[in-house]
């Protein structure tokens, strides 16, 4: 029986795949480029440069919020978050403080739990710091790339819940096609805030530990589990874990304390004077909503209802929006050939179809020919067999009595109905299956 319950909130940063950066027109496609080749006075923080926000990035941020069931306040603004670090070219980051674009949403997990989304807001990325011997090298190509920050309520209790949330979040983002959300490439970054409270207690713990540098799904459980263990030990000793930021160390699957600043960070937020605020109309928000594709959770429900598929199959087929669209198209084509969605689903799932390289129309053809037993469709054949057997209960009875030659009679009856060439061995097999 666990004495302590984990209380975990997540901060996820998503790098948007816009053409240009958040506040300037430099290309945002910085990955793998030569250092400091995608900079300009604005993102390099030169004297006199001014920010102008990227319209598409803002719209995508709102879409993410809508997909997470957030409310979109009609008034929003940018704020300056002031702190010093070599990779922060202006000495402040343009972010959002008290009037973010999206607030108060939720994500529902498979265990029925609703994870509260506190806020979704827009900010800009910093440059990259690399070590080389006694120096640190800075590349500002990434400086100013649009980031969406998604903050949850401290509603998580297990690493599994977190992984499911991250997978759902990644799927939503990929469905919206606003980011590739690849953790290994830093396109989706995770910072959990972890603390523990006594089982049954309702108040939030008086401390929280932020963990940075978790770079893949695989490390999520390791980091969370290590922290829970570490904090449990401290609490068992009657002490309270220090409120701090810790870094995940991959090689050791552990976390270490980062240099703790003596004073808590005072970001001295104030409204960004260089950027006028954003004011939406209801129509603009509903227009954005209508531009969004149907998301996975809605698709799953629809596939279950309309196509009579299992939840499991629906989940598989909606893993990516491309696959889901592919399936829907295949269903449309297959309908003309009397193929059911279930048949198509089974074929795709079981035969691990390469949906990237086979068009839906071709897929349907493949299904049809694989189902053909001679000149007839397998499903159709099965239907006929069923009818023959139910019209002639004597076949079933005789077979039970051990009269094997009744199968020959059954084959004859089926052939009589079909009047087409057919492989009798397969027919025999199917009749036997059915008799079972």
């Amino acid at each position: 029986m666990n004495k302590y319950t984990p209380v975990i909130g997540l901060e996820v940063h998503v790098e948007l795949k816009t053409n240009s950066k958040m506040f300037c027109s430099c290309s945002a496609d910085y990955f793998g480029q030569k250092p400091n080749t995608h900079t300009c006075p604005v993102c390099l923080g030169l004297p006199g440069a001014l920010p102008v926000p990227n319209k598409k990035a803002i719209e995508w941020c709102v879409m993410i919020g809508l997909a997470l069931n957030c409310k979109i306040p009609l008034f929003s603004k940018f704020d300056r978050k002031n702190y010093f670090y070599p990779d922060l070219s202006k000495g402040y980051q343009i972010s959002q403080y008290d009037k973010p674009f999206c607030q108060k949403g939720f994500v529902e997990l498979s265990n029925g739990k609703k994870i509260g989304i506190t806020r979704v807001h827009m900010e800009e990325d910093t440059g990259k710091l690399i070590h080389e011997g006694n120096s640190s090298l800075i590349d500002f190509n990434r400086s100013g790339v649009p980031l969406v920050e998604i903050v949850t309520e401290p509603d998580f209790e297990t690493a599994e819940e977190i992984k499911e949330y991250l997978q759902k979040l990644q799927q939503i983002i990929r469905y919206l096609d606003v980011s590739n959300a690849d953790m290994e490439k830093g396109e989706m970054r995770l910072e959990p805030n972890i603390s523990l409270r006594k089982a049954g207690e309702k108040d939030l713990p008086k401390y929280k530990v932020e963990v940075k540098n978790i770079n893949s799904f695989g490390f999520v459980s390791k980091a969370i589990d290590y922290e829970i263990k570490r904090q449990t030990e401290i609490l068992e000793n009657g002490k309270t874990p220090v409120q701090e930021t810790r870094g995940f160390v991959e090689k050791k699957s552990s976390t270490v304390s980062q240099r703790v600043k003596e004073e808590a960070s005072d970001y001295r937020y104030f409204p960004e004077p260089d950027i006028p605020p954003i004011r939406w109309t209801d129509k603009q928000i509903s227009d954005l909503k209508s531009q969004m594709p149907e998301l996975a959770n809605q698709k799953i429900i629809r596939f279950e209802k309309e196509y009579n598929l299992s939840k499991y199959d629906s989940q598989l087929l909606t893993k990516s929006i491309n696959l889901a669209n592919y399936f829907q198209e295949a269903v449309t084509v297959g309908k003309k050939e009397n193929l059911t969605p279930k048949q198509i689903a089974n074929y795709i799932i079981n035969k691990k179809v390469d949906t990237e390289n086979i068009l839906p129309a071709k897929l349907i053809q493949n299904i049809l020919s694989s189902n053909k037993v001679g000149d007839i469709n397998e499903e159709e054949l099965k239907t006929i067999i069923k009818k023959v057997l139910s019209d002639n209960p004597k076949i079933g009875n005789d077979y039970k009595k051990g009269k094997d030659n009744v199968i020959q009679f059954a084959i004859g009856q089926v052939m009589y109905v079909i009047r087409k060439k057919i492989d009798t061995e397969i027919l025999r097999k199917l009749i036997l299956e059915e008799l079972k």
Binding site: P41, L44, G45, L46, P47, G48, A49, L50, P51, V52, P53, R80, N82, F84, P86, S89, K90, G91, Y92, I138, F140, D266, R268, Y269, F270, P273, D274, I275, P276
Partner: protein, 476 residues
């Protein structure tokens, strides 16, 4: 030739009385002659200026009148305050920290001037980082007032104002956060226009108070000011705070007379301790307007003393953030190169924004800002423009700013309210003190009333052009 106005210089160039190169050389010669006494420039770009002048002459000699209309400032030598980024030319904001900084880009204002055919003579001195109202806190030595080199030219655009007054250039560009154009224009006896905030792009201007900074012209006549504003004004896609409002042809509408113009005068602006001669001169100037048919009305304005507090808090807070980028990594020297005034303002600004103090300082100041804005709106329901002294004092002597921890903010009390509200204002010289120092008057109008402010100023100017003091020239 260097004593010409833009209008006269344009005519002279068109009539081939002289060439752009000749005009530029005349200015450069005057600069060489007077710089040892004035120290108005941080960087003189002689070669580049002559190159630009040669190009200007090419265009002048090979274009039709129609084509020349595309270059409204063709061949006109202009001095730029050293907080305007000039590509390939060092830009220092008169700070040692940026002593070697060479921008890879032009400010929008600079680009517009170049596109209009102007000649850039060099970068003028200022209070370092624009933190001041004297140009005494420049890291490159104080600029002196051309009318009396034992006195200061005002600031922070002191170099630009002095340069115009001393006829080192035909015109200059400055910037005003609160008073930095109008006040030095007042102390140096020249025209200084602070356009409405957002009328002229700030892109490329080294930021001081982001919600206040307004680039503008410093000139010898009101018409010149209008000519430059036409070139500089307009929306800029690189500055999200610029207004999409149409730019008027300011110089073509200066002749609107002031009959029936309602002018507001507030007693609150004749503050305690104001120089008596300044007060008298303003009152005389007001009578002049009356004689031209304007209606003078007493109005009550929000006590300008509170503007000092509002401005100090907002400006220093924005300064503390705007100066955060100077960490010596990508350009410039490290933060130890900040001098006293900059450190002072950064520290106060940091304090005012810090946790626990934001509400009582920054937020409170922004609330009182709203009060000031609404106060002006109310006043402008009754009157068309407001007239007041620009500076409560004459140009102060060298050394006046020593150890004063709020010199600039206190000296600019009369211009801060209109700056805080983002309004348009102009300084016009109205005479001299007995000691031979210029006296200036400011005309303030609502946002985007540059046309009215300019035409009112123009009317005053042309109706006083024969006064004796107009004939005076600085003796350098």
């Amino acid at each position: 030739m260097n004593k010409l106005t833009i209008t006269k210089a344009k005519t002279g160039l068109k009539n081939k009385d002289f060439s752009a190169v000749g005009l530029t050389k005349a200015c450069l010669d005057e600069i060489k002659k007077t710089e040892p006494k004035l120290n108005a420039f941080v960087t003189i770009t002689e070669n580049e200026a002559l190159e630009q002048a040669r190009n200007a002459d090419k265009i002048l000699n090979n274009s039709t009148i129609e084509q020349l209309n595309n270059y409204p400032l063709l061949g006109i030598p202009i001095a730029l305050k050293d907080n305007f980024s000039t590509k390939g030319i060092r830009t220092t904001a008169s700070s040692k920290l940026l002593e070697e900084y060479i921008p890879p880009y032009d400010a929008t204002v600079v680009k517009k001037l170049k596109d209009a055919g102007a000649i850039i003579l060099g970068k003028t001195n200022m209070d370092a980082w624009a933190h001041g109202s004297s140009t005494e806190t420049s890291d490159y030595g104080a600029t002196k007032n051309p009318w009396n080199t034992n006195h200061l030219p005002g600031g922070s655009s002191g170099g630009s104002a002095a340069s115009v007054a001393a006829n080192q250039c035909i015109a200059a560009i400055g910037s005003e956060t609160a008073g930095s154009i109008r006040q030095p224009a007042s102390w140096c006896g020249v025209i200084g226009l602070k356009p409405t905030y957002g009328r002229v792009s700030r892109y490329g201007v080294i930021a001081m108070g982001s919600s206040l900074d307004s680039p503008g012209p410093i000139t010898k006549t009101v018409e010149d000011s209008a000519l430059i504003l036409e070139v500089l004004a307009g929306v800029d896609e690189k500055d999200a705070t610029t207004s999409p409002k149409e730019v008027s042809q300011y110089s073509k509408n200066l002749n609107k007379d002031v009959k029936g113009l309602k002018i507001g005068i507030s007693n609150d602006y004749f503050i305690k301790g104001i120089d008596k001669e300044v007060e008298e001169s303003i009152k005389t100037a007001i009578k002049k307007f009356e004689s031209l048919g304007a209606k003078i009305e007493d109005i009550k304005l929000f006590d300008p003393k509170y503007a000092i507090d509002v401005y100090t808090i907002i400006q220093r807070s924005e300064v503390s953030s705007n100066l955060a980028r100077y960490d010596g990594i990508r350009y410039g020297k490290d933060r130890d190169s900040f001098e006293e005034e900059a450190k002072r303002r950064i520290m106060f600004g940091t304090y005012a924004l810090s946790s626990g103090y934001y509400d009582q300082y920054y937020n409170k100041a922004q609330q009182v800002r709203t009060v000031i804005i609404k106060d002006f709106e109310k006043a402008f329901e009754k009157v068309d423009i407001i007239i007041a002294p620009t500076s409560p004092s004459l140009a102060l002597p060298v050394g006046a700013t020593k150890d004063a921890s709020m010199f600039g903010e206190i000296a600019d009390v009369l211009v801060e309210p209109s700056s805080i509200a983002g309004l348009s204002g102009i300084n016009i010289p109205i005479g001299f003190s007995k000691s031979g120092l210029p006296i200036g008057m400011q005309i303030i109008g609502p946002q985007f009333s540059e046309q009215l402010v300019l035409s009112s100023a123009h009317q005053y100017e042309i109706n006083t052009q024969n006064e004796n003091w107009k004939k005076l020239e600085p003796k350098l």
